[in-house]
Symmetry: C2
Subunit: 183 residues, 2 copies
């Protein structure tokens, strides 16, 4: 599973061969098919595992913290930047990669990927609502729309940082987004 997450965050689903994953971890094909009926089932399990991992990461940034609400959003972006830097901006987001590949994936992936994004948005909307309640964010903002806007844009950020192999897109997005929220 870990090897699958790593390869899917780097290359996506279509470009990653099952053989490549199994070779890397020294697991024979027969053993794989004991646990999964197909590469697709494996892909769906990887999305689940990634969603669990990411939920913990969001909790660390958004819940278990003394930061002000808007600083938590900033912290998440800085943390993601550090995470991408660790892999030389070669690994992106499993959900974004597979989302981009929907044209060649079975429809069952769609619902699962969308569900994960809606969960992230829900968590983020709570932070924006808290920012409003402490006066950090203007009350005119619609927190749900703002959270959706953030995640729609954020998948673009990860894509672009991978494309450029550079933190620059993360920095530009982060600075501009915070400026737009607080000016």
């Amino acid at each position: 599973m870990r090897a699958g997450v790593a390869l899917l965050s780097e290359k996506g689903f279509s470009a990653t061969g099952l053989e490549q994953i199994l070779q890397q971890v020294g697991v024979p094909k027969g053993s794989f098919y004991h646990y999964f009926t197909s590469k697709n089932e494996f892909g769906l399990a990887i999305i689940d595992a990634y969603a669990d991992y990411f939920a913990k990461r969001l909790d660390r940034a958004f819940v278990h913290t003394n930061l002000s609400p808007l600083s938590r959003i900033k912290f998440f972006m800085d943390d993601a930047r550090a995470g991408m830097a660790r892999f030389d901006f070669r690994r992106g987001c499993v959900v974004g990669n597979l989302g981009q590949e929907m044209g060649s994936l079975p429809n069952i992936f769609q619902e699962q990927l969308h569900g994960v994004l809606l969960d992230w948005q829900r968590r983020t909307a709570l932070v924006f609502a808290e920012a409003q309640s402490v006066g950090e964010l203007d009350a005119r903002h619609n927190c749900e729309s703002l959270a959706a806007f953030f995640w729609i844009g954020w998948e673009g950020v990860v894509l672009r940082a991978k494309l450029e192999r550079s933190p620059d897109p993360i920095d530009i997005f982060s600075e501009t987004f915070m400026a737009l929220l607080t000016r």
Copy 2:
């Protein structure tokens, strides 16, 4: 070339077989290799063709128009929405698709894709600067950063609209972006 653009905007590069493209247009492999030495060379030519097509589209929205500057940005988003709707939100952006696939593409694609995005940003920054000069946009905004922010986010929009097979992400991004600029 047209069949290639269509398939690459829908499925990306890795998931699109050369045979599939050639079969669709009834071109034998030998004829293909008369014009291109490899699938990679064909891919780079497709990016060029897509960039030309898209530059005309941006000129239509940004230059050949009587709209106010910020209305041109809105027009571009509405126009892109209509374009995606025409293909049932199955086709996205060739540049975004291939950008997402950088992990499995040769490095030569990186420079070309990045160059196209910088061109789009340059054109967009001019519109924001004009918006400032007519008082539609606050002078505190950095037009280059804002244009980069827009294109970083916009590739996320296209990805998400494809994932959801729906215009909703375009609408949320468009409305929220215009609200953030003008409130």
